[in-house]
Symmetry: C3
């Protein structure tokens, strides 16, 4: 931003927001409600933080109509404050531009293709027959194996590995430490030893996907592992071979999905949930944190499992009873058949 | 495969399988039942996919005798279809050969030893007194610290770290992002601050082990952390210091094993299970997904814990009751002593 | 240690320990009770290993007064044997010294600052405006982005990534594969697509922190993610954006903490526990392994959840009952209102 910082009124107009209050202040940054100073814009989206609104010293706040009355400073009224704030915040993002071209320290296979306008950072490796499309940015320390494609305007931040046969769409963002295209976990027991089942497929990642730090997505055993467009994976997620993740599905940190599972579109999977292999989850399913999914899900909705924390003494008493829950119920309700037991 | 592709009959003969049907078709690849075309071999091992057999267009299918009658195309009958398919599929694996020798961009300590026929890829580092045996392949971006050994025909795919005193046997395969030999988590509280306990041991990995992407195996505090032969670890597994994992044991993704635990031979640990420290697990134990293991296991068999998913409303009602389970049982069965409570 | 190895008596004097027995043996290393030979020092801190004391062949053992009577070899009596052993063991730690200066293969931004006495290893990258303080050691293959600081005498072991705006204090130790400062998981749903919320903050890491292999700590969305001094994180821990972790808190492997959660000082979080976002945990809280924390904790103490393992048949019976627990209790205690249900 070398131009003068925009005023609150200018932001209102540019992003189609209704301004309530004075619009003359110039905004040179963004901050949380409790941190923002008089030249910074803030926002209120999560009702949990409503109490902080009263004390904010921000220049202006992006918020819902219902919250505007309680705002002590100028308000920018939005139907989706988090999204509108995100758009404005992008104005204040800055990082050193990656120069187009191939850094002298990078090592490229003779038949690797780097299109004009792509950037290959220092200490990268690009393997045989791989192609880096125009506008793509390969940050420092990335290793791209053979037969990969990085689509236009995609970015591998740093130290990302694409092992083999990984095809990324456009505007894909991959964070450091992620490994795409490593062998799936395919083993056959044979005369007392494990025999490795060759993993021959690839990984397809649709446009606008984002893949978190140290997340792993295995290559398919035969076909490909697929992320459809706009899938968002947080850090340390594990996606097994031959999974298919539907468009616009998001998974928080530490989720694990075993192989050959298909997940629908617009699903939300909260942190550390585990999903078994060979399952099918329909569209618009929400899975709460640490939930264990071991059956198909055929109806949209929210699904949960796990026990929330208690003080240690209560927990010990309760799990001791749980160990005998079936016996206890049989004693108390001797004639009631357990409806799930024999399935 | 520059020779002409083998026929179904040739594969039957080479791998000792019984051919039922015509054997003349040439097989130039392998694919899943629903994807395979008329020059591809497929297989049926998991009964869940039996329905797909009827519609396959594969050239031939490797399957069990019991499934052969339902096969619409030539069948290769096997007692272990997954294993026999794996052997055949290996014919169709191809990747650019790693050239023997040390890439010009690699950085080697003066006293590192690279045996004839080993390959050190671009942008690798090999530290003091480490040795890379004949036929071993160190892929791009690996860092090998001091006093390590990579055994003959082992392969570090890319961007693997062996920190210090890590000794790999023969034919070990390590996937990208794995870290072997980092310090174990040893801390002593001392006058209100943590004091780091020096981690002086190493890691020993037996022949034929496979270690998944972003998996971590800590060095021992005093002795070594040990994987016996043919141990198979999937991605994002964590093995604490001084663990010993028995031969032929396999662990799926996201399993965590805390320090100083000993696990037997031929165990199977499913995804995201957690095993506490200082335990002993006997041979031939199967632990199901997301199970919490906090006691020794002395009998072979299958062990489980965790709650499978329910719809969110039912779950909320049930966990609310669980919070008071001991009280409820005391009220209903006032004279029954809890057998586990006082242990 | 080029000087002659110290005797038991010399160690007793230097570390203020009471010697019981002969002090003449020279100690040239440290080992576990069952491994130690006649020139090695061992220790007994965990009562679980008391039986091993009787059979030790160590030169001497560091232990508590109460255990000294059962020690068959000279004893060094300590009130905190683990800590005193740790101090002595540090004498026997050896690794090749990292030479001061910048390795020829490293790639530094023109405005990166490397203070005198710092060491930048091979194949590292240091970005714009970043500063590596005196005595800091950047091991091989690290990538440091823009606007980072590595404080005096901190060490990045190898292949660590600091993405952007990461500030490490003094004597911080970061293990391989760790990623600090990657974008937090900030997304707004907007007209059926995800809109990325810019992640503009940084990460602050206090003095004496230790960060495990493949652990990830996201940069703040607006403000910073903060680790206060002496925080200890094991491997594969995930810390979401805008978290604050109090001084002297330790977390074992595979713990996940979602965004915007504040954890107090002197907390202990055992392996694979999960802590939801936007929570506050007070000081001196212990959370046991695999516990699910979804509410604030306002009282010091120990908290737990999860079900310990059973044999698979018992578990199946019990979870089948759990699925109907609320119904069962309603039937048995029809007049008892569920106290938690409506909260």
């Amino acid at each position: 931003m070398s131009a003068p910082a925009p005023t609150v009124a200018e932001l209102a107009q540019r992003y189609g927001l209704e301004l309530r209050g004075a619009g003359a202040a110039r905004i040179d940054g963004v901050a949380a409600l409790h941190d923002a100073g008089p030249a910074q814009l803030s926002f209120l989206a999560n009702p949990q933080y409503r109490a902080r609104l009263r004390e904010t010293r921000a220049a202006a706040v992006v918020l819902r109509d219902a919250d505007a009355a309680g705002c002590p400073v100028p308000a920018l009224v939005s139907r989706n404050p988090y999204a509108d704030f995100a758009r404005i915040a992008a104005l204040y993002e800055s990082r050193p531009a990656a120069p187009a071209g191939v850094h002298a320290s990078a090592v490229l296979a003779p038949d690797a293709v780097v299109e004009a306008g792509a950037s290959i950072g220092p200490l990268c490796v690009v393997g045989a027959r791989s192609r880096i499309a125009a506008g793509a940015e390969i940050g420092p320390g990335c290793v791209i194996g053979h037969d990969c494609v990085v689509g236009a305007h995609s970015r591998l931040v740093a130290r990302v590995t694409l092992v083999a046969r990984v095809v990324l769409g456009q505007r894909v963002l991959v964070h450091p430490g992620a490994v795409l295209g490593a062998d799936g976990f395919g083993l056959a027991m044979d005369a007392g030893h494990w025999l490795k089942v060759p993993q021959l497929g690839g990984v397809q990642v649709g446009d606008d996907c984002e893949i978190g730090a140290n997340t792993t997505i295995d290559r398919g055993a035969l076909g490909d592992t697929v992320l459809e467009e706009d899938v968002r994976l947080d850090n340390q997620v594990q996606i097994g071979h031959n999974c298919r993740i539907g468009a616009h599905t998001a998974m928080a940190g530490c989720v694990g999905v075993a192989g050959s599972t298909t997940i629908g579109k617009y699903c939300l999977v909260a942190g550390a949930a585990g999903i078994s292999g060979h399952l099918t989850i329909c569209d618009k399913v929400t899975i709460s944190a640490m939930t264990m999914v071991i059956r198909n899900i055929t109806e949209p909705g929210e699904y949960s499992s796990g026990l929330p924390m208690q003080d240690n003494r209560s927990w010990k008493r309760n799990i001791a009873r749980f160990r005998h829950l079936d016996e206890i119920v049989r004693k108390l309700l001797p004639r009631q058949r357990d409806p799930d037991h024999d399935e």
